[in-house]
Symmetry: C2
């Protein structure tokens, strides 16, 4: 029997509901593959603010460090929107990424044949789309200094943030991306703004250098504005994309929306060592929280990514992904992905369907 200690961070809004489903699904997969999970729960985001005054209590970070992987649901909500930014739920998420050194964020955007009509793009444009965005997650303008709001000599305020990358930061995320591309179709597109930004020039130089170590990978470069355009124009041209923190934030969301069903998309955040964090791309959806309406599939697929990338249990990951495909195949849908002729299920019922699938 393999034993894993998993930290659960249900967070806010629909978080607890979708997390409950993911835990059930993990238990079933565990039985099937002789894996024992020890779950420990901790506070983050609004839930942590309400209980402790802080979005990421140090106890939470300790619990996470002391585990094999972290499964996160979603954070945030209107309730905490007016707090100062360092006390808001998002600060907890940024602190978790920094605290665990999670520099590599993997965001797949894959069109599922069963849900292709949910896309706002024409079928022929998105059919077969399968993109992996590799986003740098602990550097760039999210963390660069100086940052803040300062007074100028004339007395007016001046907001400042700094986009910074060092060569070693670029190399480390570059390697993750080249390796990811190698496991996929062998095509990597690096996205920057090297025609304007020096930080992007360094990025492009290093990625180009690095490509000499990966002669089997076909590397291309795009400017971020063009990449945003090409995602809309012809998304099938992309396989693996590597980019910095801010560009990755924007492009991975645009890529996600190509599928039309953001309630289906998981993500993985990995460090050099220590536990990774696995979470859905969607938010905490406070408007439908507690109503058993949420789509738990992105959370369940995040659990599958945890098995694959965090625990190296690909068979258990496969079986969960298969279960998701099967419930979709048999026509089960939550409200966000319903279409005529399909079965409308609540969050829990979808969980039950997965368990028997």
């Amino acid at each position: 029997t393999q034993n894993y200690r998993i930290t659960l961070l249900p967070g806010d809004g629909i978080g607890p509901e979708i997390m409950a489903v993911a835990v059930d699904v993990l238990k079933v997969a565990g039985k099937k593959f002789d894996i024992q999970f020890e779950f420990q729960e901790a506070l983050i985001g609004g839930a942590a603010i309400d209980a402790t005054g802080e979005p990421l209590p140090s106890a939470t970070l300790d619990t996470c460090r002391n585990s094999d992987a972290v499964l996160l649901a979603a954070i945030g909500g209107y309730k905490w929107d007016s707090l100062p930014s360092n006390l808001r739920p998002e600060a907890g998420l940024l602190g978790l990424r920094a605290g665990l050194g999670l520099f590599a964020n993997l965001r797949p955007a894959k069109i599922l044949p069963q849900l292709i009509d949910a896309s706002t793009l024409k079928r022929e444009v998105v059919e077969g789309v399968d993109i992996m965005v590799v986003r740098e997650l602990t550097g760039g303008i999210y963390f660069g200094k100086p940052k803040g709001i300062f007074a100028t000599e004339t007395g007016e305020k001046r907001g400042v943030n700094t986009m910074v990358y060092t060569e070693s930061e670029i190399d480390r995320i570059g390697r993750v991306a080249f390796e990811a591309a190698r496991k996929r179709s062998g095509k990597l597109c690096s996205v920057d703004k090297a025609n304007v930004l020096e930080v992007s020039q360094l990025w492009r130089d290093r990625i180009t250098q690095l490509s000499q170590e990966y002669p089997d990978i076909e590397l291309s470069h795009l400017y971020v504005d063009n990449a945003a355009m090409q995602l809309v124009r012809a998304p099938k041209q992309f396989d693996t994309i590597v980019t910095g923190n801010l560009f990755g934030d924007i492009l991975s969301d645009a890529a996600a929306m190509l599928t039309g069903s953001i309630g289906m998309l998981p993500s993985a955040s990995l460090g050099a060592e220590g536990p990774g964090v696995f979470e859905p791309v969607h938010g905490s959806a406070p408007d439908i929280a507690g109503q058993d309406k949420a789509n738990p599939l992105a959370q369940v697929l995040s659990a599958a990514m945890m098995l694959r990338y965090g625990l190296n249990e690909p068979k258990a990951a496969d079986s969960i992904e298969q279960a998701v495909l099967q419930v979709l195949e048999q026509g089960d849908r939550t409200g966000d992905i319903i279409s005529p002729g399909k079965n409308l299920l609540g969050c829990r019922a979808m969980g039950n369907a997965l368990i028997v699938a």
Copy 2:
């Protein structure tokens, strides 16, 4: 008779071909509305590099300053891609923006009924889309300091750029956007990343403050990642968008691509006083340069924007826009927008069609 001195910057690639068409169309409109244009041509981009070694010779900037408006075609090409960045064509464009103080960039993305099938999005999603992106153009990370590639203590390189906005910079672009929204549907969406960036927090604060002066305008705020998503999910929700230089670069291109025909989209760059610059959104398309294949309509519509926003000649602007709609209505198309049953025209033939329209 009204007299205007217009600087023409044909630039590179297809630039000279599409500029020739726009000039012909302007002359026709001038005759009709008793407007006399005095055209003066100057060098920019690759053409300027080849002739003078610099992408923006000071003579060009002088000529521009000494005119009522500047009509720019397109710059850049593979030929100059390996030059150091301060000597590349793009540096000429950035220098022109800074040199003329063009802080406000207006980028309309409007679906034309005749070309709706060119969109990669479903008809019902894009029908009626009419978005105006107001992008700040002389600040933000494009110009902020410090910037450069520096050596760290450990000897590795570190790329740095700085995203900066002062209150007065935000106010000034904010006013342009509120005024633009007032002339349109009265809805303004401000885009930032205030959940992470301090510079965005200042941006959001000032725009919110400013909205008190525009009680008739309905203001909303979106994070840039969500905005990229919403443009793909439901673009009709947007009317006027205001955002910083980098986010505007990305989002205006994504919005442009919703139309499916970037060969149709003009833009205007305006300062507090002095001449504005009017140019198509598309690039210099070096692969089809000199083959009489280019679509001149974005250039012609840029000339119309010049009449409307630069010279305050709305009637002449209307007549040019009407001519464009009419040639589309009668089925005339260049190669980039051709579809079955339509008439394929070259660049010059399209120009002739516009003149008789």
